[in-house]
Amino acid sequence: MHRPTIVVHLIINIYLILQKEANLGVIYIGDRSAGKTHLATELANPNNNYVRVNSSYFKNAPTATDAQNSIYNKAMELQIQLPSGNKQLILDWIDTPGEIWRKHWQTEKQSEWQHFLNTLKQTEGIILVLPPYRQIITANNINRDDFITEKQWCNRFNRWVNFFRYECPQIRHLLLCLNKADLFCDYEQEGQKLGYLPYNSPLNWQQRNSYVMQRYFRPISPQIQQLNQSISGLSVRCFITSIYNRNLLELPWIYLGSFLN
């Protein structure tokens, strides 16, 4: 008598579970030349500490996402060593070309842009890779004029703030990665200080976050606060990353591994 009802309930539950699973995507985005593809490719380097990437597609990955090539969507399987044991994460890596944020790209590739927005609406974790700004650069062998100014950097971040507020209402974790740490700090020293050890880390997550936030994200701290307050349930965390330092490179992923189911 009650069987059909039970079956219907089961189907609904399975659908809800699948829908929930589908919502757990992590998206990897950032402005042009922020170094997104490099970071992810370097993460697949077998000389790992606590994050291992099981994915063969990196072999053919380009060094920078081709602007004409549009959105680059692949599954990425990560194994993260946490104090509770190894955790397997299957993530959707949606690497976007920097051009995606330009109006003409959005108009020309309207369906892709719409699909991207729809994906973002469901995502729970976003890794936003930011390039360093001119005033923060300390490396000598580099032309500082190639980098945007602090003011431009802050303005660009404002654009992101609005974007997240209106397009990503479900987002729970926003990881801001100020990339190319090798250009603006002693990355080896910082890597040692911030590095993760499953049992005896010199700093805990909260200390790491306030250290990085105060030291490297001060120009946009009001915007971060605004973002934190405007999206319910959102945690914004700050990281510095570099392809030359494994400790720094792995931190955002270890953080995500700890929080995402």
Binding site: P83, S84, G85, R172, W205, Q206, S232, G233
Partner: protein, 272 residues
């Protein structure tokens, strides 16, 4: 074994409390040895999170109604088995706890005369169902003003219990959480007198007037505990400014020893 629901205002530490329970594999209480085993996937995940998040110096995200939790079926449901060994040659007594963790806003909305929307009504109805043997209410505030808010919430909650015919058959354990705080810690030994009668008098009186004595108990508990009870009773926690005001983090994972976390659940479950 019946179900237990854990309610309390936002940021009262409900999920962290349950994580501590999942994490504290073995606890000693007087001469009793308590062994806790997570039984279902959700409680095992909570145990992992305690290790990966709390022990690593971060706090849990708040349990909020929204994208992930849309209705009661989305609420986390934790199941634990607790073995209580009272001494050599004594039989081990097992109890099973099934606990639901409710979002803080559900508790806060109780005070509104007409439950604001369908979803909150649904949460409260589930909380007062017949298979729920007890309700643990975690409170944190003790400062001026808290008493009148808690009294309003409790009065309304008691009305709802009455409407659902649960006034005489639902155990309530009222617990002051975060008791490691300096102002609270000395009152932990007799919480009814030194915490509830003193700081939350009208709420306590309302409860005592309307709930049968055998169904009401007052507790003090501390999820983070103190560094060392006898020689260093500083709270084993660090407070820092977080997204929604002050947030607390575990200070020393190696010294983590929760205080009195099982007793309220044990009583709710067994009445002993």
């Amino acid at each position: 074994m019946g179900n237990i629901c854990v309610i309390g205002p936002r940021r009262s530490g409900k999920t962290t409390y349950l994580a501590a329970l999942a994490h504290s594999y073995s606890l000693q209480k007087n001469k009793q040895k308590l062994t806790i085993k997570p039984l279902n996937d959700e409680s095992k995940k909570l145990q992992d999170k305690a290790q990966d998040i709390i022990c690593q110096g971060f706090s849990f995200e708040p349990t909020v109604i929204g994208s992930v939790i849309k209705n009661v079926d989305d609420l986390p449901y934790f199941s634990f088995k607790i073995d209580i060994n009272s001494g050599f040659l004594r039989k081990t007594e097992p109890i099973q706890l099934n606990v639901r963790d409710y979002p803080g806003e559900v508790f806060e909305k109780i005070a509104e005369p007409n439950l604001a929307d369908e979803i909150h009504k649904e949460f409260i109805e589930e909380c007062l169902m017949n298979d729920v043997v007890g309700c643990m209410i975690l409170l944190t505030a003790w400062e001026a003003g808290a008493d009148s808010f808690y009294r309003r919430v409790m009065s309304r909650f008691i009305e709802l219990m009455d409407q659902k015919d649960r006034l005489k058959n639902l155990r309530l354990s009222i617990a002051m959480s975060k008791s490691e705080r300096g102002e609270i810690w000395p009152g932990r030994l007799d919480p009814e007198t030194d915490l509830f009668n003193l700081h939350l008098p009208t709420m306590t009186l309302t409860l005592k007037d309307l709930i049968p004595q055998e169904n009401l108990r007052f507790y003090a508990l501390s999820t983070f505990g103190v560094l060392e009870q006898k020689i260093d009773p500083r709270p084993n926690r660090i407070d820092a400014m977080g997204k929604e005001g002050q947030e607390s983090y575990l200070r020393d994972a190696a010294a983590w020893k929760p205080y009195n976390i099982i007793e309220p659940l044990y009583w709710l479950s067994t009445g002993k």
